[in-house]
């Protein structure tokens, strides 16, 4: 699987493009089937549990991720637009312990598109627009498993030492 990531530190955007060994219809199920979504959305040590899954414009997908210590981190998607099996646009927002939207924390706008590749397989493109530097800080704090965070800060330290 070939993956490319474009990041823009000024615009606070990231575009992840990956080639999937699957048809567009199969790839759509990664998002449309909550049991499949659970298998990849959370980091391995913070598995996701999807509690509501209304994948329609104006609908909500609610989930929580469970830490190794058993703490639950709630999040939800507000679905902006759905065009099965090609396109999904949503706002990824933080939620409080009851699963309700946390209005104080920022929102990430994400657009996902699936396109059939000429040579077979599917191109999946995820474009994320982060609200601010603070929004990225919070996402990183929520989404990272501790070991990985440590490894990355080491890498960041190495990069910072470059001439």
């Amino acid at each position: 699987m070939q993956t490319t990531v474009e990041k823009d530190a000024t615009a606070h955007t990231m575009t992840v493009t990956t080639e999937l060994d699957a048809t567009v219809e199969r790839a759509w199920q990664l998002w449309a089937d909550p049991r499949q979504l659970e298998r990849w959305w959370g980091p391995p040590t913070y598995p996701a549990t999807v509690v509501d899954h209304d994948l329609a414009a104006g609908g909500t997908v609610r989930y929580f991720m469970t830490s190794p210590e058993g703490e639950k981190y709630h999040g939800l998607w507000e679905i902006v637009a759905v065009e099965p099996p090609q396109r999904l646009e949503l706002l990824d927002v933080f939620a409080d312990d009851s699963g309700a939207k946390n209005e104080e924390l920022p929102t990430t706008r994400m657009t996902m598109t699936l396109t059939e590749r000429a040579g077979g397989g599917t191109l999946m493109v995820m474009h994320s627009q982060f609200a601010s530097l603070e929004a990225m800080e919070q996402l990183v704090a929520m989404g990272m498993e501790e070991g990985l965070k440590e490894a990355l800060s080491q890498i960041a330290g190495i990069l910072a030492g470059l001439p």
């Binding site: 990231m14 990956t18 990849w40």
Partner: protein, 121 residues
């Protein structure tokens, strides 16, 4: 620090902003401390308006921010913020790469067990 910024993936836009000697000097000045547009204009053989244009290009590239203080326009280096944004984006990239690895494993299971029952909607 400037080198780190230039190594970043969004370097193309930054190269345009830094492809001019005056603009490079403005960035170098602002890194040493806040500078007013009028103070910068005294350094170069050009009008305040021309300097403002250069500052605008740097601002669009995220290299500096501009702030009005009384009658003065103050140019402030944004390199620290830019670098923090790059670090965070690298960590967000790692989150997505983990997700894509997990998607790869999920799809690989299809070929072993046959695709899961499709959830038609």
């Amino acid at each position: 620090m400037v080198v780190d910024v230039l190594l970043a993936p969004e370097a193309d836009g930054l190269f345009h902003a830094l492809a001019d000697a005056t603009r490079r000097d403005i960035v170098a000045q602002a890194v040493r401390g806040d500078r007013s547009v009028s103070a910068l204009a005294r350094r170069y053989p050009m009008s305040v308006t021309a300097v403002q244009k250069h500052v605008g290009v740097l601002e669009a590239a995220g290299l500096v921010t501009k702030e009005r203080r009384g009658r003065e326009q103050i140019v402030h280096s944004n390199l620290g913020t830019l670098r923090r944004a790059q670090e965070l984006l690298s960590q967000l990239e790692a989150i997505w790469r983990t997700r894509i690895d997990q998607i790869g494993e999920l799809l690989a299971d299809d070929t072993q067990e046959g695709p899961p029952h499709a959830d038609h909607r």
